[in-house]
């Protein structure tokens, strides 16, 4: 089984990337965890460019989603929602709609913020968009608040409560992907 992690923030020291990397430590031994690092390269969605071949960064995104059995998205919160660049990438990934690689794909959403709310509104909006795309959005969530206090100087998650929540979400995601892996095999 393979999980794909997507961080909605672009900066190198992103708290959400750190949250994804913490999740990667929590997957079962036989599960691969790939962190997708191509978000910044995805061009603005333009229907005139939405043909075959797809722009290479888009083709890579679609292929990464297609070969993953489940996806974990970690999002920050910008203006009470999730970042435009992440929405843009999902818009590309959702086309053509009827055969898009997120269709029926188990997806979990988590989020980290430096404030007191842990990107909860961003997560809610992201779940809505993923559902509209046709993904199987699982219910578990993690809202990591006051992010700088939750990681040590080596970017390791040091909050045990958050780690437990994250482990539970990862476990639910793996469980949701099991039937698909069985069918593929």
């Amino acid at each position: 089984m393979r999980l794909l992690g997507i961080a909605g923030s672009l900066r190198k020291e992103s708290w959400n990337l750190k949250l994804l990397l913490a999740a990667a430590e929590l997957v079962p031994e036989d599960v691969e965890f790939e962190v997708w690092d191509g978000l910044k390269a995805v061009p603005p969605y333009d229907e005139d460019d939405d043909g075959l071949p797809a722009p290479p960064p888009v083709a890579k995104l679609r292929a990464a989603i297609a070969r993953a059995d489940a996806v974990l998205v970690a999002t920050p919160e910008y203006n009470s929602s999730f970042p435009g660049q992440l929405k843009n990438a999902l818009d590309w990934a959702s086309r053509p709609f009827a055969t898009n690689p997120l269709r029926f794909k188990p997806v979990a959403v988590v989020g980290a913020s430096t404030g007191a709310f842990g990107a909860v509104w961003a997560q809610a909006e992201l779940r809505k968009v993923l559902s509209a795309i046709g993904a199987r959005v699982i219910e578990g969530d993690v809202a990591l608040r006051h992010a700088p206090e939750r990681f040590d100087e080596h970017a390791r998650l040091v909050d045990e409560d958050v780690r437990e929540q994250l482990e539970e979400v990862v476990s639910e995601l793996v469980e949701a992907a099991m039937p698909r892996v069985a069918v593929a095999a």
Binding site: A98, R103, F104, S131, A132, G134, R136
Partner: protein, 182 residues
């Protein structure tokens, strides 16, 4: 002259299969002030009527056969927001009781959508069997019912600008069946 009509309380015995070309399973649900309609094609249905008039009706349709007038909406209906074709690929119906009173018929049964089985009551009309040009015997059966889609886990909605939900919960189902004796 008085004509005494025989009261009909049972269907005609036999095993009857649906003539798919001339039959339809349709649904309608209020959406944004209008009505959103669709059909299921293909589907299968069999009516079995014993000599004593005891009858049963069973039917099924693959979710992959849901038809609406936009392929993106078809894809959305098949997604986990609605029918979840991957985990619940079939819709099915099995009657528990069928009653007839002349040309009116009431069918009680269990409808299974998205893995949830709930009792439904369908009412409608039945025609008299007639010989068709192909050497067979057929009759018509029309059934209507209303279900609450959210009871089956199809609970997607989106608010309109006035805050009201865009999609109604009640869905009307209509089965227009032409049944041919096997």
């Amino acid at each position: 002259m008085n004509t005494i009509l025989e009261s009909r309380t049972t269907l005609t015995p036999g095993t009857w299969s649906v003539d798919a070309t001339h039959s339809q399973i349709a649904f309608a649900v209020d959406y944004m002030g209008g009505t959103f309609r669709g059909t299921f094609s293909p589907f299968a249905a069999t009516l079995t009527v014993a000599e004593d008039g005891t009858a049963s009706l069973v039917g099924s349709a693959p979710v992959s056969g849901v038809r609406v007038q936009d392929e993106n909406l078809t894809a959305h209906l098949q997604s986990p927001d609605f029918f979840d074709a991957e985990q619940a690929p079939e819709i099915s119906f099995r009657s528990t009781a069928i009653e007839r009173s002349n040309d009116e018929v009431t069918v009680d049964g269990d409808l299974t959508i998205r893995g949830t089985s709930l009792p439904v009551v369908l009412t409608g009309t039945v025609g008299e069997p007639a010989e068709d040009p192909y050497g067979g015997t057929r009759f018509s059966l029309r059934l209507d019912g209303t279900i609450d889609r959210t009871a089956f886990g199809l609970d997607w909605n989106n608010p309109l600008p006035n805050g009201e939900p865009a999609l109604a919960n009640d869905v009307t189902l209509t089965a227009e069946l032409y049944l041919v004796r096997n």
